[in-house]
Symmetry: C2
Subunit: 339 residues, 2 copies
Amino acid sequence: MKRPTIADIARRAGVSKGAVSYALNGQPGVSEATRQRIIAIAQEIGFNPNSAARALSGATANAVGLALCRPARILGIEPFFMELISGVEAELSARSYALTLQVVADQEAEIAVYRRWWGERRVDGVFVCDLRVDDRRVPVLEELQLPAVVIGGPGHTGSLASVWADDAAALVETMEYLFALGHRRIARVGGLPGLLHTEIRRQAFVDAGQRLGLEQSVTVPSDYTGEEGARATRRFLSSSGRPTAIIYDNDVMAIAGLAVAQEMGLAVPGDLSIVAWDDSALCQLTHPPLTALGRDIPAYGAHAARQLLAAIEGKPIGAYQDETAHLTPRGSTAAPRPV
Amino acid sequence: MKRPTIADIARRAGVSKGAVSYALNGQPGVSEATRQRIIAIAQEIGFNPNSAARALSGATANAVGLALCRPARILGIEPFFMELISGVEAELSARSYALTLQVVADQEAEIAVYRRWWGERRVDGVFVCDLRVDDRRVPVLEELQLPAVVIGGPGHTGSLASVWADDAAALVETMEYLFALGHRRIARVGGLPGLLHTEIRRQAFVDAGQRLGLEQSVTVPSDYTGEEGARATRRFLSSSGRPTAIIYDNDVMAIAGLAVAQEMGLAVPGDLSIVAWDDSALCQLTHPPLTALGRDIPAYGAHAARQLLAAIEGKPIGAYQDETAHLTPRGSTAAPRPV
DNA sequence: CTGAAAGCGCTTACAG
DNA sequence: CTGAAAGCGCTTACAG
């Protein structure tokens, strides 16, 4: 099948190609009658403008990029990214923007991808995930002047736009809830060290632990996998003066932690309370279902997409604060059983 | 920053733009010395060919498309797609192909996306997931002559290329394993009705049940969510003459089923054996870990990508049979406890 | 309000 | 082996 072009429309409408372009893009320069006639013809023959030609004429590529830096098995098991992508997509497709996805091995590869995308003019802007405390991607994107929205923060985003949530506040709320239930020994399995939100949460955990005067508030880093979550849990539960509550930095580790408790013959929530960050549908699959800190991730993605499209249009944008995660108590938390 | 073009390279090398193009693309028409000089300059100034200009010159778009038809929460929780995408990506990025992702609401929207992509020349080919028994997407792609690889089968793919696995054989292996353990009442929670692999598995289940002379072999459809998996499990376990083993069409439902068994006070595997299809890392998060039918999904995606790239190059390709899923016995299956 | 033309940055026959 | 030129399908100043 031959693809229709504006030349075909121009011929059928008896006008110039320029007129077709003006009519289809809502530009002044054609009479309303002509515009309607041209639009009707375009619809009739199923015209879609060649994206390459459009991009080459100085317009935008009508595509944005997302580079994901995780190995396959972790990427698959974390619901976060797919939910984020869904939300991003909803916003993009309403504006006929395409999402270009690339899985990368590390930050260097990711930076190379940005440089290539920029050189190829393949995307008009990018989303930046997994913000680090001292992130090398930020200065590169600033230098390239490639519109970008950082998904994370606050701060450490240089002059780039961002969408962030107050994780510290959410963690404090969780600590106070556990404290109110009577927990005095609380442990935490954190995320990947070096990620900004890992540091923010860790700091908030330590501060809250001191402020509440907990007997114990240990935190260990991890890599978000179930194995690491299980290992950390085993270590915590084997220690003398074991914690009565554990907070996990993602849902996958929390589920693994629950299994370890069951395996060690500890009752949840009787002997151990469990809280998961990221409240995906996974948290309601277990017995007992997991108390979790959650928020609307697709909406988060949609906000990021809206920010990025605005940045591409050259609008001045800064940091957008998304809703704070809220705690949904389920069966995995309760007052600690008196010893 | 100004993007370098072949004109910049040509000027610095003292040759024509055409010569630069030939040199960079490995075409004959330039001396080896000139070629090396040009390549060196391109590297030095960090040249990347403008993808739009390239696509417009009749070459390919260097991008392929993947449309996913699932709501956000299901998409997020199913590790399958992200693992598939990882594998697809690995193959594509080695060839500097981009992956364009689009989330769609239904088949009609998906078909509209294909028509738009084709008209825009945005992609050189597409992957088709969730093949249905009588799939309306197949004739549309044939009509558009848009290279496509169906991820699924066998059969029902028209003239399109495909990558498939023998699910019937995998299911039979599972049934025989359960039979050998002593199970005579086996139930199955299937996937979305209408999907080809749902039908193939259902048929294989029924056939194997009859051949083995099982007392009971019931199968119900579902939608892959944990809620549906839990509901079906509750119904099975509440019935008189309840099954001693249940096979689930994905890992998410199997985990939900395990939680229901625990909630109802049934021991797994003592009172109930559980088998999950799709052996993602989720299956090893539970206590007991789940016996699962798995195969290398990233590799499956990589094979699909290889097929699609071959199709785009105009090579004749047909149906590629991937490895059959194999059973990994874990703690969730055992001989049924004598009543 | 409309047409003719230049230009985006490549690729690729076509002459020399 | 190399250069000059046409063309891909749009957008957008520039004349009429």
